[in-house]
Subunit: 146 residues, 3 copies
């Protein structure tokens, strides 16, 4: 049994964001195949020869998008889970999760389409705001028990 | 007190996979020492001189194995924990966790031994199947409360 | 409602460590701006021209510090949460979390200031000790239910 409405809301957005990360990994793999740019000699050999063990600017872009997701979405999974247990109002919690979700989706789109700066950086900052807010609220809740 | 049999099963495989990640990190460090290929000048200086601040193909391979682990095992820790709370049957849950575990162990072996393609990619796909399955079941469970 | 004293202690240090990771990300961004070394052409164009889409040794150092944090702090979030449920004594739990916290703070300081080796490696090992200890205790707890 899953828990409260707040936890359901958190789990909903978190799971979608993990699927979004998987999609970037799939895109990266497809770009590697299409551009014939493999990270490993054994992959290159299977697809035409070791000369295709090479880097490609768009593959590297996909990897940076994935890396940035990991640096931000994975800590969110922790902060959101703990924040959900601090009895926030449903409206406040939903707003935190939704802003993070939309910020990270925009971040991925801006990264993969190489949108004009500072679109991607703006998306990054937008998504960080609820994370910082949750971290502060968690620390205040912990302090209230001290 | 830990919880249900399903949670114990999930925690068992998850903890083993984290230890597996630590082992790859230890191997990377050992390869750096043996091949004298350090990422930082201060490390190189301690082991013979700044000329050993350099990359090595096998060190890079270890790092890619570690990176792929992070991209897949860390989201599994979230999906598996939530999925365990959705009241799946024990047999189904155990199958999900076991397939993921075996897929990721094979992935690491295939990466570090540079096994012929597509062994590693196959292991990656095998391990992704239970993750996608858990994500879908979580979303269906969340939807059932809406 | 948050839980026991042990969980509060775990959540306190975990949240601080996530904030520490965010700070490294902010520092990386500031160094990119100051040194004019951007990962993406669209960022470089906004800050003077595509010639500033280039790497910089200190930016790479920041990124390695962040990467190492992810490889260690994120698994800690899982191990610490599960370990907190295995009914350890408060003193033992607090010691585990505090050593990890101090080890990781020292690791970041040693990395960003390029302190003489093996300071950083030592901090890494110090922080790994409680993680390995928690992993073993978790596996023993799981085994006790078998």
């Amino acid at each position: 049994m899953l828990g409260s409405d707040i936890q359901l809301c958190f789990i909903f957005y978190s799971t979608l964001l993990i699927l979004k990360m998987y999609i970037i990994a799939i895109i990266t793999g497809q770009v590697r195949l299409r551009k014939k740019a493999f990270a490993n000699p054994e992959d290159a050999e299977r697809h035409g020869g070791v000369q295709f063990c090479r880097t490609d600017p768009y593959v590297e872009r996909c990897r940076r998008a994935q890396q940035n997701d990991m640096e931000n979405i994975l800590p969110f999974l922790f902060l959101g889970a703990v924040y959900s247990m601090t009895s926030p109002s449903y409206a406040a919690a939903q707003l935190h999760f939704l802003i993070f979700f939309l910020g990270r989706v925009l971040h991925s789109v801006a990264y993969l389409l190489a949108l004009k700066a500072p679109t991607r950086s703006l998306a990054y900052v937008i998504a960080q705001v609820p994370c910082i807010s949750m971290a502060i609220q968690i620390l205040m809740e912990v302090a209230s028990f001290a």
